[in-house]
Amino acid sequence: MARMKFLCDAERCIECNGCVTACKQEHEVPWGVNRRRVVTINDGVPGERSISVACMHCSDAPCMAVCPVDCFYKTDEGVVLHDKDLCIGCGYCFYACPFGAPQFPQAGAFGLRGKMDKCTFCAGGPEKDHSEDEWKKYGRNRLAEGKLPACAEMCSTKALLGGDGDVVADIYRNRVLKRGRGAEVWGWSSAYGAPKGGSQAPAAAPAKS
């Protein structure tokens, strides 16, 4: 069974926001909710790097650990999903998440935030695959259609890779060997933990992040 992961290649990302747009369009995400965003460091000056970020579907997900109603679950493919019928909108997952992934439709007085929404790795929710309920609450279930996440599929420079972690890591390793630079894998040690047994990270050197 594949272990789904996202990888964003900071050497390739051109901050076109195609992934953000693809995501919004694919799932018809409401206004004010952004399941994915692009952050640019040193914007507009030499040394600029852009990174596309969404839920990383962590191995030891902090959102899961702090949720007071235990509405999160992990699929066999390592995708972290949640049940909006159980979500009480307390915001704890937002406090805990390192990547700022959990989104709320409101930030109302008296803690009225509405149901949390986040990237599903295009894997829908607990409802029946392709059902009307699943579409309304979580958007399209592309994984069930045998497709990969829309953001990564749409990425014009293939900076954003999404899919089986081993395949993604292989692609990235080849890339790094070929270009001889940009070995850092952004966010992986935060999301998926330090490599086990002293083995190397997917690319030559583990990132600081």
Binding site: R37, D70, I88, Y95, G111, E184
Partner: protein, 364 residues
């Protein structure tokens, strides 16, 4: 026509010249001479470092990766709270504190408070009034005082129960009643908690103003503490309108913890002011620590005010206490009232009309 156009062009030329010279003057004032210009002078320090690094060691992005973990806000079109931050590590710290420290330690403290009261009840039973009831009643709490007390007491109980569900329910209640019912209950609890909270906060302030005068510490309290408040022996320990234990509860429980809980709670309750995550994490930790201590103290207060002490609840329920109770529990207060109202020594049996023996008026 052509003349006027030339004039206009000249004017424009003058303006551009002026602007340019002004700009040049500004630049030369800030920057070193052109020959010595470095990246540092035109870029922010990190961008300059990255630009330099790319020339000296192509492909070394260390300065950028440092920025990733800097928790600084970088550029993004997303308008969400702290959307420009790539990785915030405070969340993991908060999670560890909450799940590995606050929940087990807080739970143990609260259970210990319950166990202590149960143990005490088993050992001493309810503290009885030794002399027979006189049948004569004294006004201990007037209507306003009782209203304020019960407002705080009822809202506190609601907040404590819903808060306990949010903090411990996942481990205690969820396995018993299942996800659907538990989520429904917690959702209800969260909304009740968030709307009742501000009422409690107002109540705490009123409670403080109402009872502060009779809770000012006095030397007599030291004697009360030295004798353990008469809780552990049958010694008679006199006290004023409020004894040492009640004063500790008032100053620490009501004032310090009540205000801490209210302030942190209101901070968490209004995310519409778009507070950042770090402040929310701290507010949550402060809220949980203060509430767990407050709930544990409240267990003792509720115990001694109900089943732990015979006749104590009457004062807060009806406003009146029996003179025998007053003499045994709050002798200095009893004496003061008697001094002011000597006529009451012999007389009526039923409740006295409100205000006739008003404690606040007579106890100075």
């Amino acid at each position: 026509m052509s003349h006027s156009r030339t004039a206009l062009r000249r004017l424009a030329g003058c303006l551009v010249g002026l602007l340019l010279s002004a700009a040049c003057a500004g630049v030369s004032a800030q920057n070193p001479p052109p020959g010595q210009q470095t990246f540092d002078s035109v870029l922010n320090p990190n961008a300059a470092e990255q630009a330099k690094r790319q020339q000296q060691q192509p492909g070394n992005n260390a300065p950028v990766w440092r920025e990733v973990r800097s928790e600084k806000e970088h550029y993004t079109t997303d308008r969400g709270v702290e959307a420009g931050v790539l990785i915030q590590s405070g969340g993991e710290t908060w999670r560890q504190r909450r799940n590995n420290q606050l929940i087990p330690v807080g739970g143990a403290l609260f259970l210990a408070a319950l166990a202590a009261c149960a143990l005490f009840f088993w050992w001493r039973g309810p503290l009885r009034v030794k002399s027979p009831p006189t049948g004569r009643k004294m006004l201990r709490f007037n209507t306003f005082e009782r209203a304020v007390h019960w407002t705080v007491a009822i809202t506190f109980t609601i907040l404590a129960l819903t808060g306990l569900i949010m903090l411990f329910g996942k481990a205690v209640l969820l396995p018993v009643i299942g996800h659907t019912l538990f989520a429904w209950l917690t959702n209800l609890g969260k909304n009740v908690h968030n709307f009742v909270g501000p009422v409690f906060s107002v109540g705490v302030l009123l409670l403080f103003v109402t009872f502060v005068r009779d809770n000012l510490p006095s030397v007599k309290d030291a004697v009360w503490f030295a004798k353990g408040g008469g809780l552990f022996s049958d010694v008679h320990v006199p006290s004023g309108r409020f004894n040492g234990g009640e004063k500790v509860w008032f100053w620490i429980g009501v004032l310090v913890l009540g205000v801490t809980v209210s302030a942190s709670g209101l901070f968490l309750n209004f995310p519409n002011f778009l507070q950042g995550r770090e402040s929310m994490q701290w507010a949550n930790i402060i809220h949980v620590v203060a509430t767990v201590v407050m709930m544990s103290m409240a267990v003792g207060h509720i115990y001694i005010g109900t089943i732990g002490s015979e006749g104590a609840l009457d004062g807060m329920k009806t406003g009146y206490v029996d003179e025998a109770w007053a003499r045994e529990h709050h002798e200095y207060w009893y004496d003061e009232i008697k001094q002011k109202m000597p006529n009451r020594d012999t007389g009526s049996t039923g409740p006295v009309p409100a205000g006739a023996l008003h404690a606040k008026e007579t106890n100075t």
